[in-house]
Amino acid sequence: MKEIRINLRSIFFGVLTLVFFFSLPFVPESILAADNLISVNGSVVNGTDENSEDFVLTLSGKEKPKVILHVFNKEELIDTRSTVPDQSGSFIFENILSGEGLIYTLTTVYLGVQHSSPIRITDQSQLSNVLFKVYETTEEMDKLSFREASMLLMNLDRSKRAISVFETIKISNTGDLTFVPDLSGENPMNFIRFPLPSGAVNLDVQSDLTDARLVQVDSGFALVSPIPPGENSLNFTYVVFYENDQLDLSRKYREDLDIFRLLVSNDIESVNTDKMKDLGFTGIANRPYRLFSITNISEEENIDIVLSGLPQPTLFQRVKDFFGFHSLGLFTIALMAVSLCTVLILSLLGKLPYKNKPRPEFNVNISSSRTKLLETLVALDDRFELGETNLEEYSAARSKFKNQILRKWLENERQ
């Protein structure tokens, strides 16, 4: 019998080779395309005390931030690294994958405030000597203001009496400290607040602030996120409903505001506002909007905005909504069914008007007596003689009634 020798090492490497080839389709393309490994380096600096010579020491003296690097391939997170900067604030991440379409995000948390900085690999120069600014914090709001606010009345749905509103506000922090709201509850006014019209729904907020969080307050919402120095924007949309043809969108901002703009679509007939200037029409996405503006609005100053002449739902839409038919097809079928039933019931009750209904004075039918038919003919001749009927009408009616008498006579004769 021939001896079979099994080389375990050969089997191991064979299996490894098979696993490698079968796993190739599951490896992201960008990794396969990676031609080299790169390093990402930079330093974390204290933006609050930039002019001081020892601003890096100040940073290291209080709290050492941890720097985190995330690498994304499209939406998928493919690598995460973290490091603690040295005494000078410098950090470096080595052997990082590079490839087309990869996105790198640097994040650090300093004094409880998160800072992020997205970098795209297409710009290689951004990956070295990254200057990562972090700021000391404050609970004081005196450096915060609203630079400009715009309100765009986008779509008007007359069937639902609803207006879609888009608002954008630029929040300015002119200081060198990150504003951090006091969430302990001791100072409930320590938030930036944004007014919303009464009954507004479907609020959707987008912001360039890192970790933007909102809380609902009495007449709108408040931003409870840290606001770093510089300019930050907040965009939000919502839907507001009106009951009659008017809607009050008047508002007060709790911060000073440089400029407020209102853009109104053509669907709204008139806008009543005491203080705002009508600047005529402007175009946005090929749609004309009427532009109103007001500048230098002080804190708690009321901005009057009353829309009037708002379009109402048509009768068709009201009926559709009343019966809860959201589908046009279903409504049509129901309408046809109701209409046909009405016609059927009316016809059964004998209420439908017949074609060629005779006049009251000639109210004779096929079973009327000879005497009655003769009286009708006499009345017909009288009316013709007086000129109350024309020849065509007279001849037709006369032969009709006379033939009716003759037919009756003929039937009797045949019996």
Partner: protein, 107 residues
């Protein structure tokens, strides 16, 4: 626009479906409106029957025994129709006379 098209379609369908309810079809409605036209048609129809019977007899389709009783029947019907036609004319004149009398009476 879609709503208008649907409404027009619904209205058209309704009119077509409900048309029979609006039109008056009486079971008593006569085939002929004019009795003179009716009786004239019946007379012509009998003359046609006589002609067909004569032709059938000439070509041998109908025997002498069969021909004579059928001819007598049709002839009798024609006589009856002619009488009726004559009397219908008289009845028509009578109606006119009655109308005149009634109108004079009213005056």
């Amino acid at each position: 626009m879609v709503v208008v098209i649907i409404v027009v379609m619904v209205a058209t369908v309704m009119v077509i479906v409900s048309l029979p309810f609006f039109l008056k079809f009486s079971k008593d409605q006569p085939l002929y409106k004019d009795p003179f036209e009716q009786i004239g048609n019946e007379r012509n129809s009998l003359y046609q029957s006589i002609r067909i019977l004569e032709n059938d007899f000439l070509v041998g389709l109908v025997s002498v025994e069969e021909y004579q009783p059928r001819f007598d029947t049709i002839r009798s019907e024609i006589a009856n129709i002619l009488r009726l036609e004559d009397e219908l004319g008289k009845e028509s004149n009578s109606i006119e006379k009655e109308i005149r009398l009634l109108r004079e009476k009213k005056k």
